[in-house]
Symmetry: C2
Subunit: 110 residues, 2 copies
DNA sequence: TAGATGTATCATGCATTGCAAGGTACCTGA
DNA sequence: TCAGGTACCTTGCAATGCATGATACATCTA
């Protein structure tokens, strides 16, 4: 299981990418994150993130009826959201390279 | 530059790996992290991490003289440290796979 | 001799963020 | 009727990176 500390700073970008792929709502996002292999991400995690995304205008919401429960809030990316997502991808690549560089170097003592 | 939030939970494992490769001290670790591409990691970050590693007995220290300044505290991994490092590697792989799975899937709308 | 620079250690308090826990409310099926 | 799934949200805690500041040794230069 991925420790919660390692998820910090990751989930926001991942949720943006999920919304980019497909207009969707918070409850479904939590299911999708699990399917992608992030493990079970608490709703107490997801809702605050989405509120933040709305406040900073990276996503916009549309309320629609559901045929299996309460109304859903569907989210889609704004332009700012697309920019932010691209920045996240760049940062992720930087981190991935740094860590893989560190961990594939072998033992310097040898 | 990698945002600080994305480093949370990463640096501890990375510092363990640096120490595994080579017995070294905090000041040098900060230089090495920069060389590996993590950017400039503040000393206010590194020293607390190393104190934590010592308290949880993942590393042990040896004080030695330096010919270019104050004494250095050289760190080496304990057995617990090796175990912890391996756990970190597993967790990192999990995270890397999840994120790459998410970001290589293309647009589900298409 | 004095001061700047580089080396080397550590402590304090803040900001951010994931999460546990709890709350509300709708719909379906047993 | 009531349990379970769907769907939203809030509050307060814990962990961690970092800015800031302090201490101190060694070397070089004015």
């Amino acid at each position: 299981m991925i420790p919660t500390q390692m998820l910090k700073g990751m989930l926001e970008g991942c949720i943006l990418e999920i919304i980019r792929k497909q207009e969707t709502y918070a409850y479904e996002i939590s299911k999708l994150l699990e399917e992608y292999g992030f493990g079970e991400i608490s709703e107490g995690t997801i809702y605050p993130i989405i509120l933040r995304l709305q406040k900073s205008e990276l996503v916009k919401a549309t309320v629609r009826d559901s045929n299996s429960g309460p109304k859903r809030k569907y989210y889609r990316l704004t332009e700012k959201g697309t920019v932010s997502l691209n920045e996240f991808k760049d940062n992720w690549n930087e981190l991935e390279h740094a860590i893989n560089h560190l961990f594939t170097g072998g033992n310097e003592d040898a």
